[in-house]
Chain length 280, copies 2
DNA sequence: TGAATAGTGTCTGTGAGACAATATTAT
DNA sequence: ATAATATTGTCTCACAGACACTATTCA
């Protein structure tokens, strides 16, 4: 091992003496907030299907938190990056490859895992749910998200049709000079670890980025109507948008096709595609 | 250790068998991009002192990268968060406590450290350099940053008066749908590890946030003129701003005091203070 | 025919960019 | 008096919010 008194004169010598195992150090997991938008068919044939913002959860089948739901994730191996670990886990749970992933935050509260000190490098992932609806791993399930914001409190309900999970997270500004928040878990029935924090962080990130990036198109199929796209914006932002304003905003991001969607009891809608930027 | 065949029936049983040491896992460091703005006195008594954007570096006195400069940082202990580790390191290097810190990104390329697999949870820190000018640790030094952006290439020069360090980093869009970049180190004389990436990431983060948060006030003293504040904006953004526009933008963020700064060969300037928001 | 969504036109106010003009100092 | 910075006024243009209006389908 490294001798602190010894002046090493070459990197080789140093590395030979270097023994990582002497350091008692944190473990690292990679967790993924995989978001999508689910459709629920309306009984009225004329109405559009209602959309829900949804997140993928996995039921834990062992301790700790056995029986509780959590974000898909796992330990980061010594020969993979945290992003590679995230992709490996996602492929196992959803059979999806090439998912859009963006690093969210590294959560490392000392007691966030009862087993030992475990840090979580958390990623936000976005998918078009229609691409994978039936290929889920048996323990995984999509939960529709309903959020009520009451001052600094987020009251969140997750619903997969069978189970309802609830948690309340308090949003506290870390520094008054910036927009970074600390999230405190006030109430949490059935989610494992500090994953409510990760879910809220992911939702906030997406809410922000939808306004100044093209990130939303990772959740869309190849062709979509502007009405559908607007619905997606609306469930993510949690508010209605005005049609003309919306169309102005996304006008530069989409291309009109010659395809038309008919079938609803109303004026048919032109299908659009994402307009990729030249820079790529 | 955990027996995969065994169905554990209580968390206690599980934890008893759980032995972290069986996992070969990455080590974790915490590194800090500490930014500030330095002043260089002009020979002309009428002119304002020239401002430089600067970063704190530490000279490595052991392998790996012995003799090279790097960001202050160190291994994260088992009983501290990465942010606590960052504060511990900063206190040792600069004698400063209560520094503004914001988590930047977790860098974890597999070979970023020649010793072994080491991930770096990187923080951006901001300080008012006047508060600490002389209390640096002997191995630490402030480097003025000069950046030339040539298409997707950043040509960066760091200068502490004695040494000039240079590196070139290529900025590659990770996904065309968002604003996340991958940085590739094209040229790097004298900085250790992948720290050029961290420095660029920090600069980009600050450039962005200066426009929609009050983050810049972490680099200012209690009283400042609007001219000084504008200079700080200008060195961070790397461009000149128009006076009236600038004043409009920051009007809501500052409070006029009855103090006045005289002494330059020109109209004296009113001193302002940061206007903290009510929400805090 | 009418409920429902698709899509467009246009007014208004806000705010940034640009530039001109005035104010005040130490030497 | 002058060089330098401090500070304000105002015009224009782009754009988001708001609302009204027209278009088109299918049970």
């Amino acid at each position: 091992m490294i001798n602190m008194e010894k002046e090493y004169t070459s990197e080789e010598d140093f590395l030979k003496d270097y023994d990582v195992s002497i350091f008692d150090r944190p473990s690292v997991t990679s967790d993924i907030c995989l978001f999508s938008v689910s459709s629920e068919n309306q009984n009225n044939y004329r109405k559009l299907s209602k959309k829900y913002f949804s997140v993928l959860l996995v039921k834990r089948n062992n301790y700790p938190y056995k029986g509780k739901w959590c974000l898909p994730g796992g330990f980061v191996g010594i020969k993979e990056t945290s992003e590679e670990a995230a992709r490996r886990v996602l492929a196992a749970e959803t059979n999806l490859h090439n998912v859009f992933l963006e690093q969210l935050y590294t959560f490392d509260d000392i007691n966030r895992d009862p087993r030992c000190r475990v840090m979580s490098v958390t990623y936000m992932g976005l998918v078009d749910k229609n691409k994978l609806d039936d290929s889920l791993f048996e323990n995984a399930s999509w939960f529709n998200i309903t959020t009520l914001e009451d001052n600094d409190y987020y009251h969140v309900t997750l619903d997969n049709g069978n189970e309802q999970l609830k948690f309340v997270v308090k949003k506290v500004l870390k520094e008054e000079t910036t927009d970074r928040y600390k999230f405190e878990i006030i109430e949490n029935d059935s989610l494992a670890f500090d994953h409510p924090k990760a879910i809220i962080s992911g939702m906030e990130r997406l809410k922000n980025k939808i306004n100044y990036t093209d990130i939303v198109f990772n959740m869309m199929g190849e062709y979509f109507t502007l009405g559908e796209l607007q619905q997606v914006y609306e469930v993510i932002l949690g508010k209605k948008l005005l049609d003309p304003a919306f169309r102005r905003i996304i006008a530069g991001k989409v291309i009109k096709t010659d395809k038309i969607q008919t079938g609803g009891g109303h004026r048919p809608s032109v299908l659009f595609t994402y307009k990729r930027n030249k820079e790529s």
